[in-house]
């Protein structure tokens, strides 16, 4: 009380994993004041993770909404869906919407996620490449992949979303080509030896690889619906569709430069508080603690969005009740699990070559594993791993695959 804002609502921007976890935590922590949500999407929240499964035909559309049996709507007093945010005024504690309305807030949570970007990809006059994030993106891509058999698709980008899009293409029996700027796929998370084996497994499953290449031109011919794609090595190839999965940027266009401390995302403290008073951030917009490097950075994963959202929600509830928040965000480490067909790739921690590190490369039972240790007196400390396995028909993995969570925890615990 006393700051003049407490009768104003808590306003949550976005309605994805981070926002919903925050809303649940707010209410679970006893906040019973007004709550407003603004999202540019439909009122029914979807999971971006599920979009590729829907595109590939593995799940029906209605399964893309994982909160459908949780009555989130009953926790919200004012739901503004399909609304764009124009700007926020952190001094005045106001959110300005594109429709001209102004919403005052007591506390604000920015949880607007991220959007795909395609740096350096040439624009075509008439052809709009696909991306994969929203349900609209998924609908459009799904429609294209089922339009006719063996659609020729170029997937540009070889990290998590690129490989997920590739998997959806293979599920739809498309002729898929995977394009990457680097010499190897999964550049940020895979050891080169593992990446090389992964690439071979993809080729064995009918994927064409174009690595260390970029696209210099895309042209759509007037009389047939295919694109001529010109690569930097001079090759020209025809594709029916192009999917761009080259990276994402946080949705923060409504934050005026200088008003909140930002680098790639919004910098947050242990309770998801930003540098602006009463403004919190969580999920793919937030630069939070990566315990492995000690740095603040975005690690855009579902698990992190949920944990950060919950932390923000309970911190906001505490502050609204005049208490100090008590449940800090413990931080995270980079981690990843990806499937393409029967291939499973899991990684966590750091795989980079550094002084004082040793690499244990193992090949057993059709698997390839790299365990990275930091040399210490006594036992060496595990700091990262890659496991690449072909999942057997009966689904029963090698015990190493079953233990990925234990390895991840071992790495995490070594830093905290």
């Amino acid at each position: 009380m006393g700051d003049g804002f407490t009768s104003k609502p808590v306003v949550v921007l976005g309605f994805g994993a981070a926002a919903i976890s925050a809303i649940c935590a707010l209410r679970d922590s006893g906040y019973d004041g007004p709550l407003t949500v603004v999202t540019d999407a439909d009122p029914e929240p979807y999971s971006p993770v599920l979009t590729s499964y829907y595109v590939g035909g593995r799940i029906p559309r209605d399964q893309c909404f994982p909160w459908s049996d949780l009555d989130v709507a009953s926790m919200i007093d004012d739901m503004r869906s399909n609304e764009h945010i124009e700007s926020i005024d952190v001094e005045a504690h106001e959110v300005k919407l594109a429709n001209g309305q102004c919403l005052g807030y007591s506390k604000l949570l920015i949880a607007t996620g991220a959007q795909p970007i395609a740096p350096g990809f040439p624009a075509s006059h008439s052809y709009k490449p696909h991306v994969l994030r929203t349900m609209q993106d998924a609908e459009r891509l799904r429609g294209a992949l089922i339009a006719w058999p063996h659609v020729r698709v170029l997937v540009s980008g070889t990290s998590m979303v690129g490989l997920k899009a590739l998997e959806a293409c293979l599920d739809r029996e498309a002729d898929a080509t995977l394009l990457g700027r680097s010499g190897h796929i999964m550049r940020a998370t895979a050891h080169p030896l593992v990446a090389e084996r992964f690439e071979q497994l993809l080729v064995d499953r009918g994927v064409t690889l174009r690595l260390s290449q970029t696209v210099v031109d895309v042209e759509e011919s007037a009389d047939c619906p295919e694109c001529s794609v010109c690569f930097d090595d001079g090759d020209v190839e025809q594709f029916d569709e192009i999917i761009l999965a080259q990276g994402v940027k946080p949705n923060l266009s409504f934050v005026a430069p200088g008003s909140i401390e930002m680098h790639k995302g919004v910098v947050v403290d242990d309770f998801m508080r930003t540098s602006a008073p009463d403004v919190f951030a969580a999920g793919d917009v937030a630069e939070a603690l990566d315990v492995s490097s000690g740095q603040k950075r975005i690690i855009g994963l579902w698990h992190n969005a949920v944990r950060q959202g919950r932390c923000a929600g309970s911190a906001i509830a505490a502050e609204c009740a005049g208490r100090k928040p008590t449940r800090p965000y413990a931080g995270s480490i980079p981690s990843n699990v990806i499937h393409v067909r029967d291939i499973l790739f899991a990684s966590a921690g750091s795989l980079s070559e550094q002084e004082g590190r040793c690499f244990d490369v193992r090949e057993e039972n059709g698997m390839m594993c790299v365990f990275v240790y930091e040399k210490q007196t006594g036992t060496d400390q595990l700091v990262g791993f890659n496991i690449l396995a072909v999942v057997p028909q009966d689904g029963k993995h090698d015990v190493l695959v079953d233990e990925i969570g234990a390895y991840r925890r071992e790495i995490f615990n070594s830093y905290v």
């Binding site: 994993a17 993770v49 399964q63 698990h303 699990v337 689904g395 079953d402």
Partner: protein, 165 residues
């Protein structure tokens, strides 16, 4: 009514596997075929100053209070059963993404032929009607029991869980 939970006392466990067999029976698990066991019995050597002793450990999902698998699941397949407190899998919603496996420090999630995750559900279908979980009911030594949550808080199970984590 007080809430109950599964407790494990390693001092009493003789490693007889009755719990694992009762679990397979309860869940119709055909381990000769494709079935995956939800409960595992391990035998760990514990070295003290002048003796080595075998400690038997019966372990299945711990249904953690702050269950990391729940937070990691992007498809809504994992849910907490409010009445029993059990973390349950709705396999029809599971996409087999292994996010739960990456999150669980105990190596509990296992994946079957259909790619979906399978694990112990603390027999919530039994406990709902006042029966004990099958493993606790069968345990001949009382190592596994279904006890009051407050009693369990200081039990060997929670201490064991913390050590593992």
């Amino acid at each position: 009514m007080t809430k109950k939970t599964l407790c494990f006392d390693a001092q009493k466990c003789v490693g007889c596997y009755a719990c694992a067999v009762a679990c397979m029976d309860q869940n119709d698990i055909d381990v000769v075929g494709d079935g995956l066991m939800y409960r595992h019995v391990s035998h760990v050597e514990e070295e003290n100053a002048d003796e080595v002793r075998i400690v038997h450990v019966s372990i299945a999902c711990l249904h953690c209070e702050a269950a990391e698998c729940l937070d990691a699941c992007p498809s809504g397949a994992l849910r907490r059963d409010i009445a029993s407190g059990a973390v349950i899998v709705r396999r029809e919603l599971c996409i087999g993404c292994h996010a739960c496996a990456m999150a669980c420090p105990f190596g509990i999630p296992r994946f079957g032929r259909d790619g979906t995750m399978q694990k112990c559900d603390a027999c919530y279908a039994r406990t709902r009607f006042g029966y004990e979980p099958a493993c606790a009911e069968i345990c001949p030594t009382g190592a596994l029991s279904y006890a009051d949550v407050n009693e369990a808080a200081g039990s060997k199970l929670s201490r064991f869980g913390k050590t593992l984590a």
